[in-house]
Subunit: 410 residues, 2 copies
């Protein structure tokens, strides 16, 4: 299906029409959807209604009438099919790091007597910060065992309570074989806690079938839920009733409006709620899922893989001898939905690209990242991005002193 020129591939793309459903930066090639997903056309109208009708006219009554109170579970159920989860296994709330803290606490209580938390030495740093924090604050005496990604399967033993895994690595986009890792962990009684921030939305996930115990992820990358969209938690159904978590706030109570003195958790996944959720951000995410949830997940994955293969082929052809190296797996099945390139002046190169209308991002120390969100990135975008990269490198344009100044780059 995806062969020939970029134009031919775009012409045959079954998802080509979906791009029209997004608002994208004008005259830019937007390859940063792995950082902030583009704006779906369902959002603005939904938010307008949420603000004027539900907040303005309905006001406090909208907690019931507009079912704001049910939103974390409702949006979770809407998200569940994209994660390979069942209704009641997913909840949308709080930030990824906050949810990670909850689930690490929960995992430690589910595995009393085991004193080790395994995490990747080169994983997303924030997850590592939270793992360190959870081990130190929630379970003094526990320790982190930091393991290279390639050695994870050898890191499990009877001392390990839980392993924190990045399904897709935020730099290289390397993807772990979820089923295999879950099996290896389960053989030692180790709980798996997956961060699927860099895969959810870009490919069909199979958390249930793969045997994942717990997962978190953010709503604002491929899921297009908006800046800082509430994150999600997944808990394998049979673990829910025994789950205890440290952030026990009123919305996780079995009867929040009974205002009982003692905390008793909700029987379902709602026990992972804590405080009142940010409804406007949550409804924006829900509106995004209306659009994303209607797409064929296999078509999404097929295009994602094809975009990545095409990017690599273009980069190898156009940028040979220009100092870049492919830092992502070549095999699409081992990859998420971005391509990372290594270059000694990666920061400056990315500044030069952005100045020329190609929006990707830079990651320390030497990576150029290009997010290939299959919902709105075209093969012709990939081709133009690589041509622009080639031109920058061939001209040494990155050596312009303007590009050396280090501003914050997200």
């Amino acid at each position: 299906m995806f062969t020939g020129s970029a134009a031919e591939r775009d012409a045959r793309d079954p998802l080509a029409g979906v791009r029209e459903r997004f608002v994208l930066p004008r005259d830019q090639i937007y390859l940063a959807g792995n950082s902030l997903g583009a704006l779906p056309d369902t959002v603005a109208v939904r938010l307008e209604r949420a603000v004027r009708e539900e907040w303005g006219e309905g006001a406090v009554r909208s907690w019931n009438r507009a079912d704001w109170i049910g939103a974390p579970r409702r949006v979770g159920d809407r998200l569940a099919p994209l994660l390979g989860a069942r209704p009641g296994e997913v909840l949308v709330c709080d930030a990824t790091s906050v949810n990670l803290f909850k689930l690490l606490g929960a995992a430690l209580r589910l595995r009393p007597g085991r004193e080790v938390v395994v995490c990747e030495g080169d994983g997303f740093p924030s997850d590592g910060y939270i793992a360190a924090s959870a081990a130190s604050w929630l379970a003094p005496g526990h320790r982190l065992r930091t393991v290279p990604r390639a050695k994870l399967l050898d890191a499990f033993d009877r001392d390990v309570a839980v392993v924190l895994l990045h399904h897709v690595d935020y730099r290289s986009a390397h993807r772990l074989p979820m089923t295999e890792v879950c099996e290896a962990a389960r053989a030692h009684g180790v709980l798996t806690l997956w961060d699927v921030s860099h895969s959810a939305g870009a490919m069909p996930l199979e958390l249930g079938r793969a045997g994942a115990d717990l997962a978190v992820g953010c709503g604002y990358k491929y899921l297009c839920g908006g800046p800082g969209a509430p994150a999600f938690v997944y808990v394998r159904g049979e673990l829910v009733p025994a789950l205890e978590q440290p952030l026990q706030g009123w919305l996780g109570h079995r009867a929040p409006f009974a205002f009982e003195a003692d905390y008793e958790p909700a029987s379902g996944i709602e026990r992972l709620l804590c405080g009142t959720p940010p409804i406007l951000s949550l409804l924006a995410f829900e509106a995004a899922l209306e659009l994303l949830g209607a797409l064929d997940p296999l078509a999404v994955r097929a295009k994602s893989e094809a975009l990545g293969d095409f990017f690599i082929a273009c980069a190898e052809r156009e940028c040979a001898g220009l100092g870049v190296e492919i830092a992502s797996p070549r095999a699409a099945r081992e990859r998420g939905s971005q391509i990372a390139l290594r270059h000694a002046e990666a920061y400056e190169v990315m500044q030069a690209l952005i100045a020329r209308g190609v929006i990707g991002d830079f990651r320390e120390p030497d990576l150029l990242r290009f997010g290939l969100a299959p919902h709105y990135v075209r093969f012709s975008d990939v081709e133009r991005a690589v041509h622009t990269l080639r031109d920058v490198l061939a001209q040494g344009a990155q050596r312009d002193p303007r590009y050396r100044q280090r501003n914050r780059v997200v």
Copy 2:
């Protein structure tokens, strides 16, 4: 200033024009602003810009260009004057309960060797759940000392690390004398942690001058930040550098985008950040503060007190012998900005009032709550609300079977 008939009081109200800046439920008397503040006219236009221009057109670049990344601190600085705080002492992020957990953890580390957390036995239950959770998860061996609100001043000794206080009680609206409590706590080396959810926005606070150490509060009541608006934390300036908190996520790092393997907290109040904030909800709150921050805080308080006094006077006159009792302090200086009435059939009475266009709320077991947000509630609203209440009670309208069915009421 506030004397005479309701109409005369409204005519002399210096804040009368502010009501026009809010969108309110049509043909209703909205007395639930202590639960969800009404919609300021600054919000819809700001959100429209945030969605279409910043997210849609700016996309990931808006973290820098629109300073999304600075929003938690910027909105905190904007809120600070309403709290009696200095720039750099307030941060807007997460939910109140999550922030409470952070600050309880921080307080326990600031007072090593002290093993008691004091909290009110009859305070807002969610705060109690979090206090129990923090004591159990963060500091095994610690214990809660639950004290009636009236006995708080006698509860401090050298075993107490921190006391969790509700500035204004969520049911009665009773207000604690902040300076006096802070002095009593300080005399024993006890840290004060104030929940100001039920006072912030309705009256000028003086957290700094009163000597408060720590505070949290929500953005969605009198501050009108929207449903589930992000909450805030306050830390007395000199405590910030030593503060350690359990939810150490990437945005609390001194250099979030350096992606360093080890966590080092930001030097300022940003160390209380955890994950990525829900930007849309946060910008809605900021827009609300544009309006609220421009009002004269003394005029706000004067009107709040006058509305409460007027409510009590009307209720005593109109509802004598009808089975209601004033559950709020009569002295305005001991009160927040709501009036609570006790009635044996409070749930049904509130249903009857709502059916007649008076929106207040019910709190277990027998309270009718009427929020008197001084920004948009008129004296004539109070008068009509009390007249409606009198009519309901005089007719026994609450005994209509429709009103007995217990649905969720927020």
